[in-house]
Symmetry: C2
Subunit: 204 residues, 2 copies
């Protein structure tokens, strides 16, 4: 594998760069198929390299799957990063729209991650929980615009529940929009978090 | 197995009654263990009857698990039935409190149902979806007090999301209440549904 530098010359990739390219390919393949369907054989065929070389990079199928899912989770976190500027709720809306677009574009792979994590695969569970924490912790992170909601045990619980709601709504809507438009869905998702927070009883 | 009639005499059970008693025992055993841990051997030991007789009643382990989970789902639906009278939101609160109590009392079995359904077991998925539909359809059912929310595609989606939120909050809270009291949790759960419904954008 080679890469083109900014000056147009071709340069040999380091092993780390090769591995990273293969992971990117794995993530692309995972977008339209489940983790069960993502084999070393398929990746070897698509990459045009030997299975032996893939085992050299990833060790075994389990480690390969783990590396691909970690990369996919990193992509999800990066792609849904809210803009630095703007009102908190506008920034939340942008982030939620990016989440919806990510799930639409990577439905099969994302669904297999959710199912695997919920079904008791510890590695997938760990990656899934890390990604969800990264996504929801943003909501509590202090920034120039201040936090959207106060950081209390009750609101932490609410945000966790909201994340489950958002995931359920998006996964349901992608399969059957039932007359709800994309904009309506985004409106529901973004409005639901402050509505939930307002519904939390205050400290006694 | 025998049962005592209201008049105190003992009477021989019909096969259907025996099967039902065994299912009740299975549900009780499932309360404190996962479905994987609920074996025909264990049920035979607890019931004091032979494994052969259990196979006679249930066919195989898969059919036994299916029957127990269906019974457990029926119990959940029955125990969380809202009272006939009262304001819609009071009735919702009673139903939600019963749901919380059910999960607390049957945590291991309930968690294994949720995991099995999410993890891709089609039979568990079907029973889980039926139970959830039964629980959420109540919210749309017309009654003397009127419906809590209008029956539109957007509000159907919202209620589905709310059910995911409620399940996530309850399962999280049971493991780690994080300083949130039972009453606070119930307040959050009951207040969140109308808050979400109010957040749904109206028809264009």
């Amino acid at each position: 594998m080679t890469a083109t530098t900014p000056t147009g010359s071709r340069t040999r990739l380091t092993p780390e760069q090769r591995r990273s390219q293969l992971l990117d390919l794995g993530v692309r393949l995972l977008a339209t198929r489940s983790l069960d369907e993502l084999s070393i054989d398929l990746l070897a065929e698509e990459a045009g390299i030997s299975r032996g070389l893939l085992y050299h990079y990833f060790g075994n199928k389990h480690a390969f799957h783990e590396a691909v899912v970690r990369r996919a989770a990193d992509d999800l976190i990066a792609q849904t990063a809210p803009p630095v500027d703007g009102e908190p709720l506008e920034r939340l809306l942008v982030s939620v729209a990016a989440y919806l677009d990510y799930v639409v574009a990577n439905y099969e792979g994302y669904l297999s991650l959710v199912k695997g994590a919920a079904g008791g695969n510890d590695t997938l569970r760990e990656i899934y929980e890390e990604a969800r924490s990264a996504l929801t912790d943003r909501i509590f992170r202090e920034d120039a615009q201040g936090t959207i909601i106060p950081d209390t045990p009750a609101s932490r619980l609410i945000v966790r529940g909201w994340a489950a709601l958002a995931e359920e709504l998006v996964l349901t809507w992608v399969v059957d929009p039932a007359g709800v438009t994309r904009d309506e869905l985004l409106g529901i998702l973004a409005a639901s978090l402050p509505a939930l927070v307002d519904a939390v009883p205050g400290p006694a």
